[in-house]
Amino acid sequence: MTDTRPQPCTVRVRALAPLLAALCLFVPAASLAQGIPTEPLVVGVVVPVATGDPLADAVAKSAADGAVMADDEFAFNAEMLGIDFSVITRQASGADAVVAAAEELVAEGAYVVAGGFSLEEAAALAAWSAEAGVPYLNVGSSADALRQEQCQPTTLHIEPSAAMYLDSLAGWYVRSGFRDWFFVRGSDAESSRQLQRVQRGLRERHFGARSVGDVAVEPGGDLGQAVDRVRRSGADLVLLLLPADEQLRVLAALEEAGVQAEVTGFPYPEAQTRAFYQASREAAPRLGAGHRASAWEATLDAYGARELNARFRQFFGGQPMEAPAWAVYQAVKLAYEAAFFGGGTDVESVLTYLEAPTTVFDVWKGIGTTFRPWDGQLRQSLYLVKVSETETDPFTLVTLVGELPAIYMPGTDPVERLDQIGDLAAASSCRR
């Protein structure tokens, strides 16, 4: 597909760079107010359908709750400024269904659509977005394919990429002394890609750590051979590159076999929920109470996160704000800011604003974030949590134990700081 959108202003007017730089230093702020649209503003969110599966339903509920809170807060604020703003949601699962839902949302006035909680859904929404000329914010799929060969010019990713999660896990575990890594992967392409990426990360960035083996398992299939391979590998860390429910099955099998290695898994949205952490501990009381990576943590207590998490808990009767809720909330916030600061709700205005290197977002992670120009990925730090072996309160079921990259590093450039994780431009095949 041909990208007919204008590029960010810094690229389009490169010849005027010095003047532009001066303007960036002293932005005539009146221009901010002049661009505020007067028509009603609608952001559309596609959330998963509840199916009865506790892990999938935890994601569906969290995402829906994030949309509800974002609607409440940003409609409230827009009303102060004399603007009618709302968030409307559709429940849909599967590639065709989410596209149909997105079309309905646009028919109801949405100028941005957020959603996509699997590679298939996000890829379908991204392709639809480019075709329809509607900005799409990916809030649930970390698949690197979406940031590489399947990237689309009208898609931006709030959900961290697989490369970011894997680099963070490598950073944490290698520094903690885990040197021999074994990988249990699925038989699907996404899982194989994750394996290649994490192995490349270990080879190129984390000297001293090595892969001591990998094995593929089929969904619901026999795990005997995989468990035996893990036991014989001598690994001190086992990384499960599997869907959340398969991670639970393998955890239980490894625990039963008496495996002593630390075990963690890829943080799919389902695997970043309290429901998963609880199930993990129940499936494997010892191995399932390990460390997990997450895009957001309800107990994060700095950078204003205390206030955001507290408001969410109060809004939803004590429920912790989990990663899907955070991602949807931020998607709405960024769409809101694009309308208010970007000068319009047409696709060009919204994307030009969101993609501009001078546009900085506050996503309650304590550092101004921007989208990477080469693949549309939101730069951000990630978190490491430890699952409690005994805690029963859902809020304190996990303890926040790490942040990567660490954001308090005065004297370093914040963009370079955040680009310590994920694929840089040289590793990107995306041509936006």
Binding site: C24, L25, F26, V27, P28, A29, A30, L32, A33, I36, E73, F74, F76, N77, M80, L81, G304, R306, E307, L308, A310, R311, R313, Q314, E337, F340, F341, V360, F361, D362, I367, G368, Y408, P410, G411, D413, P414, V415
Partner: protein, 344 residues
């Protein structure tokens, strides 16, 4: 009361600076610096003539549970008003209040209920009202000091933070972090007249000495919005850098300068408001994460509350250099300067 303490740390520049500014030092004798310590739940009181800690006002015997943050000093210097809350922003507790403390007796002489995590507070120039930003409930509220009654409360943006009253007493500006807004309250008619957008995650607002401008720091945006107070519109945005994380602002009463505490870079940015250009950035020997900042009325000395080093950095405004460091309580958050009460 804690034992009076001050650091012995001095740099060679102190002697020189002291000699050069001997006259100013005499004038400083009339001021007290107050530093709110978020984690030790107390207020450090410093004599600006000597830069010695002269007392510590205890806000609560439960440090780590009760947190003082924003402060304001009455025009006569007799009373400081302190925003007090707990660490759970959403649950209203008895700690959510503004306390008035007689600075000489250290007694709490008044309390104003302020449900919803009051973060910062301002006192009107005539000393009759205080105004607070209530962070958890997205409101700004005014209180009559004499009666203790709440005069009014207004809806503002989400995560209300900073508050200031204009020098002529006409306007109250209240910032909101999550929604990048400033709400303008007409103080006489007790009504909201405007909301407007500023930089990303606005923290603190301060008015210029003549009241024609207001300056709003934006922590994540790394900017200072310059506001024309006749129209309540942003007329210029000064970029301090993405990682500067500006918070409190001190307006020099004697010149066109404002001083901005850059928490992210452990720096103080000096801005000439006649050009809105950064004329100096003070980094050397600064304490870590300066969050609060205040300037003496004679414009000679700036103090920063350094949250990660539990200290106060003392800056001479002639050399624009750090000349002293004073030990504060844990989690130094904000800084205010007041005159010494008459007859004390």
């Amino acid at each position: 009361m804690r034992t009076r303490r001050a650091s012995n740390w001095r740099v060679a520049a102190v002697a020189l600076a002291t000699a050069l500014t001997a006259g100013a030092a005499l004038a400083q004798d009339a001021y007290r610096l107050y530093v709110a310590n978020e984690y030790s739940a107390d207020i450090t009181v410093i004599d600006t003539a000597t830069n010695e800690v002269i007392k510590t006002l205890t806000i609560s015997g439960r440090p780590g549970e009760v947190r003082p943050r924003g402060m304001a000093v009455s025009p006569d210097g007799r009373t400081i008003y302190v925003s007090v809350s707990d660490f759970n922003p959403q649950i209203e507790t008895p700690e959510d209040k503004i306390v008035a403390i007689d600075v000489e007796t250290s007694e709490i002489v008044g309390e104003f209920r302020a449900g919803g995590n009051p973060e910062r507070v301002a006192v009107s120039p005539d000393g009759t009202q205080i105004w607070a930003a209530l962070e958890a409930i997205a409101q700004g509220a005014g209180y009559d000091i004499a009666t203790g009654e709440q005069l009014a409360n207004f809806r503002v943006g989400v995560e209300a933070e900073g508050v200031a009253v204009s020098p002529d007493g006409k306007w109250v500006y209240i910032t909101a972090e999550a929604t990048h807004t400033v709400t303008v309250v007409d103080r006489e008619n007790l009504e909201v007249v405007k909301h407007f957008l500023v930089g990303n995650r606005p923290r603190v607002v301060e008015f210029s000495n003549d009241g024609t401008r207001a300056y709003v720091s934006a922590e994540i945006g790394g900017t200072i919005s310059v506001v024309d107070t006749s129209t309540h519109t942003v007329i210029q945005t000064i970029n301090l850098g993405l990682d500067s994380r500006p918070v409190e602002i001190a307006v020099d009463p004697t010149s066109d300068r404002i001083y901005v505490a850059g928490g992210g870079t452990s720096a103080v940015y000096v801005i000439d408001t006649s050009t809105n250009e950064i004329v100096a950035t003070i980094r050397e020997q600064m304490g870590r994460r300066p969050w609060g900042i205040a300037i003496t009325p004679d414009g000679s000395t700036v103090y920063t509350a350094d949250g990660l080093s539990d200290s106060v950095s003392v800056i001479d405004t002639e050399c624009l250099c750090v000349v002293d460091r004073i030990e504060a309580g844990r989690g130094a958050h904000s800084a205010e300067i007041g005159v010494i009460p008459d007859g004390q």
